[in-house]
C-alpha cells in the first residue's frame, strides 16, 4: 500500500532481482558517464568552448571591418551582394570569420573553402537567435553580449542555409542566411 504508513522496520535488504537491476542501473549510468569524457578525448565533434563578452556595437565594428576587407567585389570595386546581403570570401590565411545576427537577417553571406579550418564568430545585435545549419542540421545558440567561436571545417561543397531557430519576435520565420562552400 503506497497509501499506508510502512512497517516500522522498512529498511530491509533488497531481494535478488532488485539487486540485479540495481547493478544494471549502475552499470548503465557508469557507461553513460564514461561516454562524456571519452568522446571529448576521442570523438570527432564537440561543442565549442571559446566565448567572449562583447558589446553589440563593438561586435558590429568587427563585422564591418571583416566585410570591408574580405568582401567579394565586382570590376568597379563594389561589393557583390545577394538579396542585399554582402557576399564575403575570406582572403587566403584569414582564419577569423564573423557572422552577425539581428532581427531578421544574418550578415554576411559567407563563401568558404572546403577543407579549410575557420574560427566562426557569432553574436547578436538584439535578441537571442539560433544558428541552425541546414541540411547539415547542426544547431547553436546566439546570445547578445556574447561572442561564441566555433571551429569549423566545411567537409562538403555546395549551398547551405543558416536558419534562425530561436524565436525572435514576429519576423522570426523569415530570418535566413546562406553559406556557400567552394571546392
Amino acid at each position: 500500500m503506497s497509501l499506508a504508513t510502512p512497517d516500522k522496520n522498512w529498511w530491509q535488504p533488497l531481494d535478488k532481482d532488485e539487486k540485479m537491476w540495481l547493478k544494471v542501473c549502475l552499470l548503465v549510468a557508469l557507461g553513460l558517464f564514461l561516454m562524456m569524457p571519452l568522446f571529448h578525448l576521442y570523438g570527432k565533434q564537440n561543442p565549442p568552448t571559446r566565448s567572449y563578452r562583447v558589446e553589440p556595437a563593438q561586435y558590429k565594428e568587427l563585422v564591418d571591418k571583416f566585410i570591408e576587407e574580405n568582401a567579394v567585389r565586382d570590376e568597379d570595386g563594389d561589393i557583390v551582394d545577394m538579396e542585399g546581403i554582402p557576399v564575403v570570401e575570406p582572403k587566403e590565411g584569414v582564419k577569423d570569420i564573423y557572422l552577425l545576427s539581428q532581427k531578421w537577417m544574418f550578415t554576411p553571406i559567407l563563401k568558404l573553402k572546403k577543407g579549410v579550418e575557420y574560427q566562426l564568430h557569432m553574436s547578436s545585435l538584439d535578441l537571442n537567435h539560433g544558428f541552425s545549419l541546414q541540411p547539415k542540421n547542426i544547431n547553436f545558440q546566439i546570445v547578445p553580449g556574447y561572442d561564441q567561436v566555433l571551429k569549423i571545417t566545411p567537409r562538403d561543397s555546395g549551398e547551405f542555409y543558416i536558419i534562425c531557430n530561436e524565436y525572435c519576435e514576429i519576423g522570426h520565420h523569415t530570418m535566413i542566411g546562406k553559406l556557400i562552400v567552394t571546392e
Binding site: 512497517d7 530491509q12 535488504p13 533488497l14 531481494d15 535478488k16 532481482d17 537491476w21 544494471v24 548503465v28 553513460l32 561516454m35 568522446f39 571529448h40 570523438g43 570527432k44 565533434q45 564537440n46 561543442p47 565549442p48 568552448t49 545549419l133 547539415k136 547542426i138 566555433l150 571551429k151 569549423i152 571545417t153 566545411p154 567537409r155
Partner: protein, 40 residues
C-alpha cells in the same frame, strides 16, 4: 518481508526490452554525429 523471493519474470523482460531500446536509440544518435563540420 522483502527478503522473500517473488516471481517478477514479466517485469524483467519489460525492463530488458526497455534497455535494448535505449541502447539502440543512444547508439544511433552518436553514430549520426560522426561526419560533421565542427570540432570543439
Amino acid at each position: 518481508m522483502s527478503a522473500e523471493e517473488h516471481d517478477v519474470s514479466g517485469t524483467k523482460v519489460l525492463c530488458f526490452v526497455w534497455l535494448a531500446w535505449f541502447f539502440f536509440l543512444y547508439a544511433t544518435n552518436w553514430m549520426a554525429l560522426s561526419e560533421n563540420w565542427f570540432i570543439g
